[in-house]
Amino acid sequence: MTPLLQVKGIEKRYGARIGCTDVNFDLYPGEVMGIVGESGSGKSTLLNCLAGHLEPDAGQVIFDTRVDGPVDTVTMSEPERRMLGRTDWAFVHQHARDGLRMSVSAGGNIGERLMAVGDRHYGDIRDKAIDWLGRVEIEAARVDDRPSAFSGGMQQRLQIARNLVTGPRLVFMDEPTGGLDVSVQARLLDLLRGLVREMGLSAIIVTHDLAVVRLLADRLMVMKSGHVVEAGLTDQVLDDPQHAYTQLLVSSVLQV
């Protein structure tokens, strides 16, 4: 089986400071990988380099495209990368307002991504938008409301609907449950897990919540000061952490 994503020697520096360095991994179709670490450990920098939002200073991000097979997305042209961002890739931001158009209706937010890949029939687009609102548990009656009239949890679910409507194969998520209250988090986790299974998605999830990765991620990468200090099977890394920093991280979690 060909990996969906091959990451080789990714490095990003901010002047003399290291954002992230020497990151290597393969992600296979259907796999969900979590990236954990404290704030400033470089996990968001890494995610942005992988998703093409930041240009890495070194390394390759090779994606197995539908048409041409494995291609290095770092060196591909900007229009090609943008096309990938609208079709096979999706990016769920921590703050829903960064991933939504706040002045466009909920249906419009979902429809925009469909139109970007060539859908033109208004009725079809609206039907798909309503179908997706249902899947993320937003009432169809809210299709014409603007996201600014939605709660934080609903905005986050709308952002997910907008991202997944085009059937991407790889989803990048930056703290998708951060800032939501726990009951909404649980609902979102359940939703994400169902979608990952149904659609056969691969995902890379950046979070600092170890409970979230235990439930969602198959594999885990632990970052500290821009370096990957440990990687492996999620329950192995959490139950039997090998690196000093991971041990500290795991033992620092408050028991509920």
Binding site: Y28, A186, R214, D239, Q242
Partner: protein, 233 residues
């Protein structure tokens, strides 16, 4: 795989914990562990509390990293395998009934139990039917099936966990005190599930504090204190 070929085999396995944040203390917890379980066989791990029964199970399941030796399950060396190989082993071959139920909140009990079947690609209706049959067998009232098990009593959660563990017919199974805190009737049900699994050829490693249960379903006992450094004489 031939009849006398081991489904689960440990060869000279050792395990230690290094506590980096507590003066880098190295605590050896297991050494020279060897074990062989054939299809249709149930082996009980015995030994006093703290001798490493659960550790040994976790080394087999792969959530504890063996320091040395081979941990072969269905031909795969768990001690050296890639995460995705272990994931597919756990999906298809190796089941684990732990003492604690860990689920996504809000998912109905019926789906929690059907999940291992859906994961191996079973038809949704067939999976749900089988899950319903198992829940009935472990005496979870039907009115609870649509609720999340997170709010259930300890005993109910344990039975949901058992139903889930037996939903897919794994060729290799790890059972961590499957009959603890069950009443006589439910204990009987669980023991019959284990016997059924043995009859279809599952290789089972279990921890049973319930001596009667152990005598009934287990073919052999392995005392893990033989593998505890400093204890083995």
């Amino acid at each position: 795989m031939g009849k006398d070929e081991a489904m689960i085999e440990l060869i000279d396995v050792s395990k230690s914990f290094t506590l980096h944040n507590q003066g880098s203390a190295v605590i050896p917890v297991m050494q020279g562990a060897s074990l062989k379980v054939e299809p249709g066989e149930c082996v009980a791990l015995t030994g006093a509390s703290g001798t490493g029964k659960s550790t040994l199970m976790r080394v087999i399941y792969g959530n504890y990293l063996a320091a040395s030796g081979q941990v072969l399950v269905g031909g795969l060396d768990v001690a050296k395998a890639e995460p995705r190989q272990i994931l597919s082993l756990r999906r298809d071959t190796l089941g684990y009934v732990s003492q604690f139920l860990r689920v996504v909140p809000r998912v109905p009990t019926l789906e929690v139990v059907a999940e291992p079947l859906l994961a191996v690609g079973a038809d949704k209706q067939i999976a749900l039917d089988k899950a319903a049959g198992l829940l009935k067998r472990v005496n979870i009232p039907e009115r609870l099936w649509t609720l999340s098990p997170t709010t259930f009593s300890g005993g109910e959660q344990q039975r949901v966990n058992i139903a889930r563990g037996f939903a897919h017919e794994y060729p290799a199974m790890l059972l961590d005190e499957p009959t603890a805190s069950l009443d006589a009737q439910n204990r009987e049900t669980v023991l019959s599930l284990i016997e059924d699994a043995k009859h279809r050829g599952a290789a089972i490693v279990g921890i049973f504090h319930d001596i009667e249960a152990r005598k009934r379903v287990c073919d052999r006992e392995v005392n893990v204190s033989d593998f505890t450094p400093g204890l083995a004489a």
